[in-house]
Symmetry: C2
Subunit: 157 residues, 2 copies
């Protein structure tokens, strides 16, 4: 398998080098400070994420991380590792299956499950886990550059 | 139509008060500094969002906002306005239709399109627009508290 040389530590695959079964992941332990920054940047100040007293009275019995914050890490895997810079995000579906709490390590993964050569598209299974628990499950559809296209946009360095 | 009194400026609807056709929106003009903060908090440092030289060589001919950043504003509408705090996000699908650039005002909207009384669920049409252009389109499925449940979690204030 080949990948484009990049000088920023990221990985870029062209369509020709993708194979069904290839997988990548991104791990991050989310702090409450991260949740507060996500609330600021998104505007989603739902007290379920920020207000311990309110959140304690809900079914979750405490503050939880924004589902879309966890889901954003799927984009991180796709946009920086598999297939990485140069790809185009076409669609993503998300099922929010279990809560994530500050202090949890989220492992977001993407696995190539289907390749459509004619249009250079790839379908990826996308999961976020905390320990053994799948917290977000879904699929992404991505447009992947050809080898020539990827060389055209690759870093000069 | 009724809504729970809240002391934080947010709106909370219980299932009994939702009707098909109800709509809410959230507007935000995204700056490049916002994009950089989103990259830090999500780990998605794809140069398409951060590096003007790289992004200029892609089909987008310049940096674009993370699709998942724009999509996060759908969660903002749902979690803070319609139906607001107390609801539970079950699923979201997203189609990324057009790029968003720093300086663009994104208008995220959610519209109630279907109500399932037995399980207190609501299906919402979710759109993000920049001007007349739909940039993200999808649907959300939400679990909505009953009036009694919402009163139980409402702010003491």
């Amino acid at each position: 398998m080949h990948q484009a040389a990049r000088n920023d530590g990221l990985t870029s695959y062209c369509f020709e080098d993708l194979e069904v079964g290839m997988q990548a992941e991104y791990r991050r332990t989310i702090s409450q400070a991260d949740v507060e920054r996500f609330a600021e940047v998104s505007g989603d100040v739902n007290p379920l994420h920020l207000d311990a007293a309110f959140a304690g009275r809900t079914r979750f019995e405490g503050r939880i991380v924004h589902g879309m914050y966890t889901a954003a890490m799927i984009s991180t895997v796709i946009g920086t590792r598999l297939p990485g810079p140069g790809c185009v995000y076409m669609s993503q579906d998300l099922r929010f299956l279990a809560p994530v709490r500050a202090g949890d390590e989220v492992v977001a993964s993407a696995t190539v499950v289907e390749l459509f050569a004619e249009k250079r598209r790839s379908r990826l299974e996308t999961l976020c886990r905390v320990g053994e628990t799948v917290v977000v499950r879904g699929e992404a559809l991505i447009l992947v550059p050809s080898r020539t296209q990827l060389q055209d946009v690759a870093d000069a360095g």
